[in-house]
Structures are given as C-alpha cells and as structure tokens.
C-alpha cells in the first residue's frame, strides 16, 4: 500500500487529504500521477501543474524516482513559510 498525501491548497482543490493505493502499475512518481489523473480526471490541471512539489518519505523527489509499497508520497504547492 502506498500512502498519498495532498497538502495545503492542493488538498482544498482536490477535496482529498489522503489516499491509499494498491496498484502494481504505480512504481514511480510519474506513474502515480498517471494513476491519479486516470481515476480522477478533474484532478488533471492540479496534478499536471509544473509547480507542484513531491516528497517521498519526507525528502523532495523528482518524477522518475521509484516508489514502493510502504512509502509515503506527498504532493504540495510551493512552500510559503518564514
């Protein structure tokens, strides 16, 4: 099971905070994005946003990073703290 979190404004845009995914075709950030858009077509503009940031197990990650069961993936907008 892959745990997927949507944070801040993205959570409000998608209306979802967290998903649990059991799917063998989801093996990387890019295949995860494809899976999300295939299953929720109205999420496409938000998931395809080039400014969207991704973390795998609390570390920033790029699209080609591989993911596996047990991982925690978080999608979120550019950060604005400080």
């Amino acid at each position: 099971m892959i745990r997927v979190l949507f944070l801040a404004q993205l959570r409000e845009q998608l209306g979802t905070a967290e998903l649990h995914i059991h799917n063998d075709s989801v093996v990387s950030i890019s295949t995860l994005k494809q899976y999300l858009v295939t299953n929720h077509s109205h999420w496409e503009p938000f998931i395809a946003n080039s400014k969207l940031l991704v973390a795998v197990n609390h570390a920033y990650a790029k699209a080609d990073v591989s993911i596996k069961s047990g991982d925690e993936i978080a999608f979120f907008p550019p950060v604005t703290g400080g």
Binding site: L7, A8, Q9, A55, H58, A74, P78, V79, G81, G82
Partner: protein, 150 residues
C-alpha cells in the same frame, strides 16, 4: 545549547532563546537573530489573521538539514530555528532564527542563509484571512532568487 529546531503552536520568547543560545558559551563574540512577524498588509490586502500549515515529519527533517548545511559552511557555535504553526494574529511572531559565532560575518551570513532556505524548502504554507476572504499565499520569486546567492 547547540543546534536545535522547534515547530510549535505556542509563542516563543526572544529573551529566552537568546539566553539559551549563549548559555555557558564564552567564545561566542557574535549573536545574530531574526524574527519574522505577521504583518497587516500583503499585496495591498488587509490581513486579519493567518493560518499556518506544515507537513509534520518532513518539516523537522528539512529544518535539521538546513542547519547541518549552515554548520558545514560557516564556523558556528550554536544555532536555533523556531517556527510556529496554527492560527496567528497580526503582529504575532512566526519564526525565530538565531546563530552564534566567534565573529559577526559568519553569524550574519548563516542567519540569512537559514532564512532563505527555510522560506524555499521547509514545507510550511500560509493562508491569510483577509477582508476579501481566505487566500493562500503565493510563492515569492524574490525568495527563490535569494537562495541562488549561496
């Protein structure tokens, strides 16, 4: 006191942080600290209050990494980052960054470095409550550019 971070709902006390940063340290000839506060205007919108969200777990990890990087670049004796989350009012304190060093150059530079990277790496998000409703704060291009000098 050495190198530490805190992510917390409650307010911090600058005097207490200063005392802790310098306690039992007779080598620290320079102390630099920065406090970020909630201001009443942003992009010509009047801000009533602010809600600060973060990503528990990753926030602490990133702040520790930023501290480690600063330690590697400058001769620091101690450093501290405190960042608040939750509901904040205008003029409330948001963030404290404090650094001590033998001489001021290292302390000044490290404090600026810590703030620049905190603003662009640490997973915090501000939502302003204004007279026009709730507005998520947009990424500031100036902040992204500021990290390029390091």
């Amino acid at each position: 006191m050495s190198f530490s971070i805190a992510v917390q709902v409650h307010d911090f006390d600058v005097g207490h942080e200063y005392a802790a940063l310098t306690a039992n340290d007779t080598a620290a000839g320079a102390v630099v600290f920065f406090v970020g506060r909630v201001r009443d205007m942003n992009h010509a919108r009047d801000v009533k209050s602010m809600s600060l969200e973060h990503y528990p777990g990753m926030t602490e990890t990133v702040l520790q990494q930023i501290l480690e990087e600063a330690k590697g670049r400058w001769e620091l004796l101690a450093a501290r980052i405190v960042h608040r989350v939750g509901e904040l009012q205008v003029a409330d304190q948001i963030v404290f960054v404090g650094v001590t060093s033998v001489h001021r150059e290292h302390a000044f530079q490290a404090a600026e470095f810590l703030m620049d990277f905190l603003k662009t790496r640490a997973p915090f998000w501000k939502k302003e409550i204004t007279s026009q409703g709730a507005i998520w704060v947009e990424e500031n291009v100036k902040d992204v550019k500021a990290t390029q000098r390091w």
